[in-house]
């Protein structure tokens, strides 16, 4: 079974919930129209289609567009040697979708990371705590409206944070020009 066939089987099973499979550079992507069904779709993909390996879950912040959040599931089948990507969108007012820890146990830490960095919650997650930033940190740093330099926080005996001096940064390279001098990272004065 190829990824394209798997995507079509998903569409047969779930009908309008699943978009037409998109093929880009030999990678198959389907959109799930209702984020609330993600656990059911993943369960079907694992048990019936053989996607036994969850490679990663990531999230995208489309700020200031709506729907703001996009959650991306990277599935791989060790039986069929093919990969499929399931994307789903969530509005900021909801910011919640079902956990897939019941399907793949490895989803536990992936979902904790998204909760920590992006602030999207996973319903029925067994242990939804921060995983990278410390417990009690008030922000979600990968959101587009969070400054790169950070914001000051203070928790006595736990941790503190201060904004980093950006000095006109961030420093970005300028690819596609001829000389190494022009290519090297420069401050763009965006801060």
């Amino acid at each position: 079974m190829t990824a394209q066939q798997a995507a079509e089987k998903l569409k047969e099973k779930f009908g309008q919930l699943i978009s037409e499979p998109q093929l880009f550079r030999d990678e198959t992507t389907v959109w799930l129209n209702d984020a609330g069904q993600i656990a059911a779709v993943c369960q079907y993909a694992k048990t019936e289609l053989g996607f036994d390996y969850l490679q990663d879950i990531t999230s995208v912040d489309n700020h200031p567009n709506t729907p703001r959040w996009e959650v991306v599931y990277q599935l791989y089948s060790l039986q069929h040697h093919c990969a499929i990507r399931i994307k789903t969108a969530i509005n900021e007012s909801i910011s919640e979708l079902p956990t897939v820890t019941g399907v793949w146990r490895t989803a536990n830490w992936h979902e904790r990371e998204i909760f920590d960095m992006m602030g999207i919650r996973f319903r029925d997650h067994p242990d939804l705590r921060r995983i990278i930033m410390w417990e009690g940190y008030p922000y979600h740093p990968l959101r587009k409206d969070f400054p790169l330099a950070g914001l000051p926080t203070e928790q006595p005996d736990v941790a503190f944070a201060e904004p980093a001096p950006m000095e006109g940064g961030p420093f970005v390279t300028n690819p596609g020009v001829k000389t190494a001098k022009e290519r090297e990272p420069r401050a763009k004065g965006e801060t």
Partner: protein, 180 residues
């Protein structure tokens, strides 16, 4: 003043801490107690290896046979702060780790010194971000900074030698210096 690696003067000088002239004194060395204690101290600086990132790999290289930090009496890496003299902060200090680093430093007995190894420990390095402490000197009194990303083992050994010079100048008896 000519010096050998161990800090002894070969010729007698009035300002030297330790003078020794074999022709005049045979097997007797005349010195001040304070200078002798400082000499002992600077030649057995036990490091607390605070390895937090890739600089720790160079720190391990410094400790291994090719560079051999044992030549400077600092080969006894102690993973207990209570047995160490100098904390080598090797790597990126995140805010999550910062207060742990501070607590480990506070658990070290006096006298104690700190080497900030590499760009991250010295200034935050390339990590101008929400997660990284912009230099460990915001929470600890640093004695020697080492440039580099990561520094070569020679650079760390140079830092250790400079720290030894500083330790040799500090009086052991009487008033404490360098303590915070």
């Amino acid at each position: 003043m000519r010096r050998k690696g161990n800090g002894f003067c070969l010729t007698m000088q009035t300002k030297a801490n330790i003078g020794y002239n074999a022709k005049l004194e045979d097997e007797v060395i005349v010195t001040r107690l304070d200078a002798m204690l400082a000499w002992c101290r600077k030649n057995s600086l036990w490091p607390m290896p605070m390895g937090l990132a890739c600089c720790a790999i160079e720190l391990m290289g410094t400790g291994a046979s090719r560079f051999d930090i044992a030549r400077f009496g600092a080969e006894v890496m102690r993973f207990s702060p209570r047995q160490s003299d100098v904390m080598i902060v090797a790597g990126t200090v995140t805010y999550k780790m910062a207060l742990s680093v501070r607590r480990i430093y506070e658990q070290m007995p006096e006298p104690k010194w700190v080497i900030a190894m590499g760009a991250c420990a010295s200034t935050g390095g390339m990590y101008r971000s929400y997660a990284v402490l912009q230099g460990v000197d915001k929470i600890l009194p640093v004695d020697v900074y080492v440039a580099g990303c990561p520094p070569r083992p020679e650079a760390l050994l140079d830092a250790l030698m400079r720290l030894q010079e500083k330790v040799a100048r500090q009086p052991v008896l009487g008033k404490k210096q360098g303590a915070i």
